[in-house]
Symmetry: C2
Subunit: 214 residues, 2 copies
């Protein structure tokens, strides 16, 4: 597939690299078409890897991974505009972490709303699937590293969730549970504070949660 990855942080680079390894054509999008991280990544990624603006990455793809920082996500979407996203499937990996308020960061949006829902509202034609946000980026693309946790996904479009499930099985995810509509992103985003506490206890982030007793 032609896939756009918006964001050049660790999450964007890790996911984009995995997608290249799986044979997809990936455009990494950034604010600047000459973003240095994207340039290094594209050079290392070979012929299937390219870079561009956020808008380029959204336009020249069939599916989009949203890997921007939580606080920048809605602004990036508004800058790109809903038309570039069209009716595409958008995998929303973002977390609304507010790093301006000390450590551990609280969430900017939670409980009665979620960043996943705000992304879907900002992109009314796109089919947003919330996924992967609750684990470390290395676990995202290699769940075996964390002894195969369960992945909780949600979104309003059943076909979009099927496509994302298919794609993420290639990442190595065995058990993927569909929680229902995008409103359930509240729950998966609210998972993050306990994960941050556990990361502090363990001294690493290569863990996850497996649903047992279902």
């Amino acid at each position: 597939m032609k896939i756009g990855v918006l964001g050049t942080g660790m999450v964007g680079v890790t996911i984009a690299t995995k997608l290249i390894q799986l044979g997809h054509h990936v455009t990494m999008g950034a604010r600047s078409p000459e973003n240095q991280t994207a340039a290094h990544w594209a050079k290392a990624g070979g012929v299937n890897a390219s870079q561009g603006t956020f808008t380029d990455a959204a336009l020249y793809s069939e599916l989009i991974f949203l890997c921007t920082k939580g606080e920048a996500t809605l602004e990036v979407i508004h800058t790109v505009g809903r038309d570039a996203f069209g009716e595409k499937v958008v995998v929303d990996v973002t977390n609304p972490l507010d790093f301006s308020r000390g450590t551990p960061p609280p969430l900017m949006i939670c409980n009665t709303d979620s960043l996943g829902e705000e992304v879907q509202k900002a992109l009314p034609y796109a089919r947003v699937v919330k996924a992967l946000n609750a684990v470390n980026c290395e676990v995202m693309v290699n769940p075996a590293q964390a002894e195969n946790p369960t992945l909780l996904i949600c979104g309003n479009d059943a076909d979009a969730k099927k496509l994302v499930t298919f794609l993420l099985r290639d990442f190595g995810w065995d058990e993927i549970i569909d929680l229902g509509g995008i409103k359930n992103a509240r729950g998966t985003e609210m998972f993050v504070p306990a994960s941050l506490s556990l990361a502090h206890v363990f001294g690493h982030s290569h863990f996850g949660f497996r649903v047992v007793g279902r």
Copy 2:
């Protein structure tokens, strides 16, 4: 041990019954010393089971399980008064669910505060340990029913957490992880929305989360 259980809902009755089975002396506390649920429970529980007011249950015990409804918890504590709790260990099983705002209920307190922290603030001498809140009450006392999930606990007093860990191992909990201070109750309480989503998907609540990859 002499244990007080505050609350006569499903959680209070289930925990109090388990404690009796384990040989503890249990006083179930309610607003009224003649509460009918507590009376039935005490009659069925035998010589080690008794009932009383919330204050009785706090006073005549060495350890207290707080099993009140989220919205009533702080009011019950203020009515009983901090002196009745003294420096005892208080196991806070409550969730700040706001059932006045539709289904699924959001949390009344979250993200930058938690009910666990508020309980500790209201009981400055007591040693509050947040535990068990994120699972169904039948799983609380029989984690094998949910294939042995991980229990996350937190609290400011190390000895209190040791005592609670010892007690909950008797409930059947194998893996108990101490997240640190009571501030981490934010995370364990924020687990609840995803759990409610999963309960809706599964059609039952006899599941849990096992931490993998630690």
